[in-house]
Symmetry: D3
Subunit: 333 residues, 6 copies
């Protein structure tokens, strides 16, 4: 740790997740400076009091639980597997929007009679021995299988689980699935109701650190404020259109009659100067959700909008970050 770094955030140290988390923080306005690829430490220049550590996801969760690290970003899969029973870990934000996958049960394609958990239970009863389930998530898998009353033994594995049924190492697997291609390549089939844990990246914190260290609490607020403002901004665009009309009020009225462009609050309206003084033009500007953009353009055209310009937004700040309030409540608990 560099001098002055009093709070620590641990990030995934490898692969796709590392790239995604660094991209996410950069977009959020908190770019991480990792001076040396071999190093496991880094800084966030705009948050000098924050030291960054890189660890494997499982180690991140354990470190935050122990309290040797204050904050961590990891997948919900690993967090739920390793968070332990005693509430040392607080989940500040559970959907950072990347690292999506699901922990699922998958069976050999050839088990044609097994199409869901119920038929798996029935089929497994016909086995001489309990169902052998290979997994790297014993806690979650155990709990799920017990809830579903499937008698089994768990087999842990170091390497690719997908080959386990072919090798004869296990009967079925409980594994992370994202595109499903690896399952398909290995002639396995995920059960539609076999989702043990849906997952995406999440921000966690050590409860005690938040309770006892005011600068950790301030950091939690700062992180949540920026993350929420950024995630909201990512989903929206600023749309500006020119529109002829007698007055701002007249134009606003036309907009209030439409579905998308009526907005929550009204449009900002400014005059546009034209050479032909007989016409009065105005520029209207609204924020539109990305998914509604096509419809918004159509509506604006319908009511005479033209020269429609769409611009990106970096942050949208609302009154208070709601998750920060949720966190404060959880801390009281």
């Amino acid at each position: 740790m560099q001098p002055g770094q009093t709070i620590r955030l641990s990030l995934p140290s490898k692969g796709r997740l590392e790239i995604d988390v660094l991209d996410f923080l950069a977009e959020t306005g908190l770019p991480v400076f990792k001076p040396n690829p071999r190093q496991y430490e880094a800084q966030v220049p705009s948050l000098p009091e924050l030291g960054i550590i890189f660890q494997r996801p499982g180690d991140i969760v354990v470190s935050v639980r122990q309290g040797s690290i204050d904050f961590g970003i990891a997948g919900m899969d690993v967090i739920e597997e390793k968070r332990g029973p005693n509430g040392d870990i607080l989940i500040l934000h559970d959907s950072l929007g990347f690292g999506h996958c699901s922990l699922m049960l998958a069976v050999p394609e050839t088990w044609e009679q097994v199409t869901d958990i119920a038929s798996l239970r029935e089929y497994s009863i016909t086995f001489e021995n309990p169902l052998r389930v290979a997994t790297k998530f014993p806690v979650l898998t155990e709990r799920f299988l017990n809830q579903n009353r499937i008698s089994h033994i768990l087999i842990s594995a170091e390497g690719t689980l997908e080959t386990a049924p072919t090798i004869g190492y296990a009967d079925i697997i409980s594994d992370l699935v994202s595109s499903g291609q690896t399952l398909k390549d290995n002639r396995l089939r995920a059960l539609p109701d076999g989702v043990i844990q849906p997952s995406q990246a999440a921000l966690i914190a050590n409860r005690k650190a938040l309770k006892t260290n005011p600068s950790a609490l301030a950091m939690a607020r700062r992180l949540l404020e920026y993350i929420e403002a950024h995630l909201r901004a990512k989903e929206n665009l600023l749309v500006v259109a020119n529109m002829r009309g007698e007055s701002p009020e007249a134009i606003a009225q036309k907009m209030f009659d439409e579905t998308i462009v009526s907005g929550l609050q009204g449009p900002t309206i400014s005059p546009v100067m034209v050479r032909d003084a007989k016409q009065t033009w105005f520029s209207v500007s609204i924020v539109v959700h990305r998914a509604d953009l096509s419809r918004a353009i159509t509506e604006l055209r319908t009511i005479g909008g033209s020269g429609i310009i769409v611009s990106p937004v970096t942050y949208i700040f609302e009154e208070e970050p709601p998750r920060y309030k949720a966190m404060l409540n959880a801390l009281k608990g």
Copy 2:
């Protein structure tokens, strides 16, 4: 194909062109999600009815011609080579702004008397046998050489054409040229009037699909709308300047007298509040073509503009995508 994907778009599966097309679609607001690098299928999350396939460019054109694929993006070089005579392929957009190159005739540097097509024709007449031309584009090359009355035999090749003259495999080549460095490294020289086909990436569609499948037609409109709005936006910037003046009208008048900042339509003008109430300031905002930015800044300064802020634009939507209308006309034919 995933369930629900009723329309298919095929993209180049390799190299620079794959990277460029994925970047282009992402910038256009249609990011492709390819869950697995080994996979030849992908999705566009914002267009769930669209299935993405990755193929080699030549196979894309054949697939769209056959109708096994509805839409494709490939280079004009390959499209013209493989589109066939019967109009099954419709070119929706022929200049997507990336993948530029030219199919050109190139001769050995040592052929000093050959400086253009005319001198090539004369020189080749002195040969005992017809000119041997190595190419991977037999259709276009054949047509070009016949139009230019150069007697020849075509030699097809799998690998680097540029070494063919040195190895003695062919006399000259008809090959794709982008920077010209590879020709230079192999001591070849492109003929200035030897451009057989200029090329950049283009969007094509199967004519029958557009005629018979309404959702394919809607998709064509959607793709063209976003592509055109994005390409237009890429070329422009939003320029905002503060300007002192008695009134919006007075300021607009000063702008109308200039060349660039006079614009097609007039500027949007809003008041700027200053501490010193004796001065009245306004903010003017216009859209300027990137290539004109320097001149626009100069003009604004000339008429008293200061604190000039330039921002990016994501889309500029005009009334109707002109290429969509062109497509509708072509479909009637």
Copy 3:
């Protein structure tokens, strides 16, 4: 060089610095088109008269000094080492914001009595022979050691200097330090007052070219204008908030009472149309320094701002690029 390219800019040809300089120019609006990774030449499509050359940093400085190249971008470390005594090189911009490192003196960790330059001097006096200092920067190191009256001999090296003390090749080193990790790995310690030359990327020009070639002078202005406008923009964001108030003047007054959002000049204020006609709302827009964003948000909330939207800025042009004026002065000298 391509035809028509009358001015030449040389860029670093390798590693991190090449990536950073190409990113920097692209962000500045001057993307470099390098058609072929093996090539040492490239173009800037928006500046057709500019030919780009790629060289190692030391060769860039020598080329600009000689005048075979007009402009160059290199680290201040290399520029100061190689610029020579006769003023042929003009530094147009000395802080382009990337490529940060420092040329520093480092001693073996085990030299516990050496904690600064003074104690190094004392300790080195106890040696039988002069202190052996391995470096790739003999000019700067020589000057620094002489200024600090440390008797020494310089030892030049081709490879990693950090191993020199262990191998016995030298006693201490004078080397570039960025993260310090390499020093640490090799059990060396930089002396806190041993900074021989702090460094980041800089833009240099050949004095004679600027004096005699008007298009080189125009290019210098163009480069500086864009670079300054871009660097300024990178540090700022456009903040727009909705605010209820009786009049623009009333709202502006509330803002003038705050610290950050009071701004240099006042806010741009436009009316916001709302359904409920009893309230009058306005949109205020200001430019805020990135580092002040958190406080600006807080201030805006304090005075009733809501729906705060933050957008990126591409350029901020001020009246005249100050470094261009500085250059003109230097040319007179």
Copy 4:
């Protein structure tokens, strides 16, 4: 070509086959020196009159057929596809022992009723249109399908054929198969009697070059001599054992009674000096086929052999390279 290089051998320019051919030639005692990975030319230092060219396999066959290249090494698949009808290509050695694969017909796994060529024919008759067969080997595939009276249309492809049936680009494929894994990944199944062309690397020559250029003929002999001596050596080991016996003849007799170690010709036998003069020991040495080594060891132990040492062999030269004689005969034809 370097000066003095009067004969040309073309080698595959890419991938596994390039590595294998270079390894093969090095083991054969003819290491290729390729001074520069980017170059398409190389030398064999021990054969200064031989110039090496690197081309894609198809281009190798065409070059040798044309006569612009004298010798080539390529797969039998490509040779048979491209050799043409007129006997310009002579196959000097058809089994160089690497590059094994087969051109095979493969159908979708789901076509359960299709298990061989006969059932494919029957199934394809039920189609409305002729069977669409994607391939990169139209000549061989056409011939095979016609011989098997399967009505079809061929579809050429640039990229991975295996995805063609899924995309709908073709019904079945005719493709190179080595491990079968790619077929399996794409849910295709090769037909057991669908082998169109088995293949491994082969050495070819231009007939006319051998007939008219004596140094090409001498090179053919040299290449064949070394290749045959090396391939024979690779399959054998030199086995030396110590054996007690009254005389060489007595020991030889024991060996003649065994199966493997009796050999074609007899063993070489030399006395072994031992301290204890009462015993007479001999060393016997024979050449054994690698596949027979285990049995040879067992036989030697049975008749009292001990201290068995096995050594590698570089070449085994027989009287005259048989394939050279075959070539001379073919040249007469």
Copy 5:
């Protein structure tokens, strides 16, 4: 598994160990053919009944213990960690000569008072909490710490253990050490008597498979025979010298008087024909251990040897593979 493959050998699937084991088997005369890098299956062409599987080392040991795999090659570290208590795993060969490392205890460099296990125990008593030991080998580490009466808690980790003490995740580590560089880079120090498990690659088998499957037993013999013959050969060279002498016996006598070249058994001696008939020359040939080569050369020169030729040996077979006998004994147990 391919048809006909009735026995299975599992090999490490990744990194240095995979490369080394494939090299080892190739040198041993049992090259593995892995048709596809993505595949987890392979064949040994000379042992068609053997199917090769690739797994992570820990999974290999578990698979062999379970009996889903017959044979495996893995490090002794993992074998001892995972072999379990019940003797299902038989170690056929425990020193295959590659993959050397040691599982060791390492403490922070700054713990100056801790120099061995005894001082570690003393120091750890001064801690408030039990010593936290991070490891991926909980079974072996637990046993070792208990044997040495060090009170502790084990902390498992997914990623690089070496950073654990710095991060505060653990106090000390129990980790694999090969060169010690990684420990050094992380400022850790291995305790000289802290070797928990020395390790190199070993061949293991499932006890039940050997007892019940005769072809598995035959395979065990075959593998051991070749492995032992190869390992012995690797350590020896065949040395042949020319020597003048009256008779083979006279020369042998001179050799018997030396240390190295006297050998276990005597030399093989053959006459050398020379032009000058007055001298009688003999060639003597012996097998010499690599480490003794220099001394052997000196001895041979001393007694008049010249023209000394040294050749490689592929295998040295002794009467019966001793480890095979050991295995038979173990199976009786």
Copy 6:
């Protein structure tokens, strides 16, 4: 350095030369064990007193000259450039058989009148300024140009010299040439009599170390002995043929009448036992130079040789390593 390592050998730390030197030492029987790719230290297990260091070639020469390293392997180009005037460096072996290249003068292809050093001198006189020669070998280049009376200024460079004439950085270059391809790519032409320094890898030692440290002297002998025996062995093969004849003497006589197989000393001859007792066969064994193998096979066949087996040789030791004697002489000087 590890404990016990009293002598140090420095090897090139990068690129082709590192790979080649490690291969060379492994083939020589002195494999280097580099436990960690990041490390600059390694061991030779069979020479425990030798510590290996990796440095850039220039640093190797300086270290050996200084005496901080005892032995080094580097190219003759760098050795001659950096060895200095005072004889501190002794060249023990100047042709290790790898790393071949030449330091040469090269001029632009377009300088048609310059074909050799003489015409370069004449041409350069016509220049206004002295010839600018870019080089990384100032000492050797200076000496060569002075000897050839060419007036010049040297220009040092960090990066690729070959682009210097095009950029205008220099007129000609003095650079290392191996295949000549890079010169050709950059339109430069080496002058046939412009070889400043031919080069290959060489073994050097510090003179003082050899004089004062007996174990360094013993190491020099050991290294030279193995290197010479290996280089000799690489060039030769062991050839064994079966031959019918009345007696060893009769066969030897036939061999003495041939050119190659007559050898320096005579063949080793042993009886071959055949089933048909009427014939007497012998095995003859000789050592043949690789380059003579084809002719030796022909000669052996001519005199009735058959079943010719060729085997590799690892070392050929002669009486005393001649270069060791040369070194002892040089040390006296």
